[in-house]
Symmetry: C2
Subunit: 223 residues, 2 copies
Amino acid sequence: MSKIQHRNLYREVADRVRKLIEHGELAPGERISEKQLCEQFGVSRTPLREALKVLASEGLVLLLPNRGARVVQLTLKTVKDTYDLMGALEGLSGELACQHISDDEIEAIVALHERMLGHYRNRELAEYFEVNRKIHESLLAASRNEVLQEMYNNLSQRVKRVRYSKKMTDSFWRQAVNDHENMISALKKRDGKQLGQILRNHLCNKLEIASLSDEHADDTLPG
Amino acid sequence: MSKIQHRNLYREVADRVRKLIEHGELAPGERISEKQLCEQFGVSRTPLREALKVLASEGLVLLLPNRGARVVQLTLKTVKDTYDLMGALEGLSGELACQHISDDEIEAIVALHERMLGHYRNRELAEYFEVNRKIHESLLAASRNEVLQEMYNNLSQRVKRVRYSKKMTDSFWRQAVNDHENMISALKKRDGKQLGQILRNHLCNKLEIASLSDEHADDTLPG
DNA sequence: TGAACGGATTTTGGATGCATAATACATTTG
DNA sequence: CAAATGTATTATGCATCCAAAATCCGTTCA
């Protein structure tokens, strides 16, 4: 039987607000009305307010004393900075993964890689991204560093919104696939230094993609 | 005149609990009694509980549903992992700093470096660490990446407790100073790649220091 | 006409109250 | 005597309440 989930209301609420933000139902910069959300969720203000505190320290929400909460409005600079950080974290995950990864895990990643190549050849963007995500996730898991994973997930959550709107030019896509070829080769050799270096630069590409597609939506916030 | 501090109670409380944890007045693994802290601070449970939520998502406190809060008990593994992460972040800060740092800032860091060397020669450990911290802080600031700074500060806060108990062997100390010499040289050349690489490894030394002095205190927690 | 003032309304921050889950402890029972 | 059970106590989770701050809005006055 499955473990009883002792989930508190504030966690539940935090999860749901996170999703609202992620899917844009709470727009960037939008004021978050406690009253409205309380009614929407059917909870009192206490758990909602606790949830907002959590979301604030996760960087998703801005809390202005006596003036309520707003959805954090990402600036282009912040997104760029976040991608830089994620690049460094991916780099570390690659280095560590080479130290700890099992043969089976490598095999699994190689299999994912093959699948990804298929999607690339068929120009199936959504499927490509999904498998791509799984590869990076597998490396992160193979790093055996939970603090790293926690931090990466947090950053990833922050920029999820803009990631949704990314576009992929042909040359970027080819470059990304090329990176992946090199990654696999480094991984097979368990060459941490090299894998780390590839990964540190790899996400920088994604960054440029994001910056291209989001120039319009961002820069709207002071800062 | 100074800016009016619109500080909420829960922030104040969070700061104070953070300090209690940092200075060991709340011991690792210790149960945090809401009632007791409320009385100690003279506040009601609401702001205290909000503060605990924040501290939990900062990784300082563990919240067990219906079973109260405990101070996170760091395992040796977690400390190691955290240092690895901080190394990666320092590496990034070095790379970015080389892109953005001004001549004045470099000068200031070089000055700090000279001061640090003095403390090294005089074997003034506390002063050495203080100046050392300032150097790394300056680099972090020069990275112009606020997300990076936020993350680094968070991680740093988590391991502050164990940092207090670190010991410095002569050979480690010499190695650290040697790293710093190379850092300064890379910084003057604004060689981001090199500075990044030095910094990524630099903190690993500190890690070993921590692991030496904390073997006894940690490993006491499941996980 | 528009900037400034002031009261009414809304919203936030913090304290308190109440139901329920967890813990402690005494009692029972094998 | 130890394990198990039941009860009393305590702590937690959530809702509600109240005071203070911010916002809204109509009026006044330059």
